[in-house]
């Protein structure tokens, strides 16, 4: 039986209907020349697959991941209205080594001292209560009231807001070189994660449109129900105190 190469290759790819697959299988069994052709094709197919497969197993270069995060932020409709997030004034290191909660707390306190009406009496922006890290002070105020995309008191910037599968709310925030994820629980903001923001594809001036760390976006993705809140839904959530909880 004559079987053309297109059919033979479609057979190899499992792209024929059941009856046709069966017919070709029988023909191959009965014809050594056909078996030989099939084996040769299989051999070269396998060589091609094995040549390229390792590429998909390599670590993806950082700059390609950054291209997804970064280009996306750059084309966000509000990116032009976002204020510089941290000006290179020289009186603070532009990229401190944020290693501990103490560092972010200190930085937030600087924000309080610069722009606050409350001075030193303002509660700490981060504090432990039992085994949970809670937002307080300017951070809690920003999480309570600030729309995503705006820069508020203490340079705290809320990047995005979303509802969780459990019916609660979480918000991703950024302050200088540190980003974090806070989720609403019992009328308070529990800070579930903080992570350093990837070093600057934006140059020396950090803007609010800086890409969020991968680990944080993964955490968002693990919790999010549907899409991020749009401006309207977010405004409603702010109005309702993030759960309808009158706190």
């Amino acid at each position: 039986m004559m079987i053309d190469d297109e059919t033979l290759i479609a057979f190899l790819d499992g792209e024929l209907d059941e009856a046709e697959m069966e017919r070709i299988a029988v023909a191959i069994d009965a014809d050594p020349a056909l078996t030989d052709r099939l084996e040769r094709l299989q051999l070269s197919d396998q060589a091609v697959r094995e040549t390229y497969q390792p590429i998909a197993e390599e670590a993806v270069p950082d700059h390609l991941i950054a291209a997804v995060r970064q280009a996306d932020r750059d084309t966000a409709p509000d990116s032009e209205t976002v204020l510089p997030f941290q000006r290179p004034t020289g009186d603070r290191p532009s990229r401190p080594a944020w290693q501990a909660y103490g560092a972010i707390a200190a930085s937030l306190v600087i924000g309080v001292l610069i722009g606050s009406r409350f001075g030193l009496t303002e509660p700490a922006p981060l504090h432990f209560e039992g085994d949970r890290l809670l937002a307080g002070g300017v951070l809690a105020t920003a999480l309570d009231r600030q729309a995503a995309g705006a820069v508020g008191e203490g340079d705290t910037h809320v990047q995005l807001s979303f509802a969780t599968d459990a019916g609660g709310y979480c918000r991703a925030f950024q302050q200088g070189g540190t980003a974090g994820l806070a989720c609403r629980e019992d009328g308070r903001w529990v800070v579930e994660l903080t992570a350093p923001v990837p070093a600057g594809s934006n140059g020396p001036i950090r803007t609010a449109s800086t890409a969020l760390p991968t680990i944080l976006l993964e955490a968002v993705d693990a919790r999010i129900a549907g899409e991020t809140l749009d401006a309207e839904a977010e405004a409603a959530a702010i109005e309702n105190g993030w759960s309808g909880d009158p706190d």
């Binding site: 290759i9 040769r40 051999l43 091609v48 390599e58 390609l64 084309t75």
Partner: protein, 173 residues
Amino acid sequence: MGKRSARLENEMIEYLPRMRRFARSLSRDAADADDLVQLTVERALTRLDQWQDGTRLDSWMYRIMKNAWIDETRRRQRQGRHLAPPEAGESVGAEDPDFDKRIRAMSVERAMATLPDDQRIAVGLVLVEGLSYKEASNVLDVPMGTLTSRLARGRKALEAQLNPDSVEAGHDD
């Protein structure tokens, strides 16, 4: 209409290993291949409004990459530049300690580079990326028959080059 979200970004990042693999099946040069991936990501993000939510993001990205590759090959041809320098030392799996594998990978790359673009793209999508014929013909926006014909011609040419003792080989090295 597609829109930006953390989930979409993550999905895109999830596809990057495959996009890199496909790019490498198109371009022998590793740096060119990653440039192609970057271009694809940038175009995808600026044209997100053209992506229909609910359709496959990976298929759409493959299509963008295919178009970007064809644009790039035409541009270079106009400039009289070669795409894959034949003396290029880098090879897929060059870090592999297995010498035979390395030699074979180099043969595969060389053979792929001899295919016309349309055949190489069809082989890349189906054989390397594992797309079904239907998915691949969607990506390329060509009838199924066109895809299977390109695929068959490409696969036969590869077979002839990779099994040089083949009785069907049109030409030997």
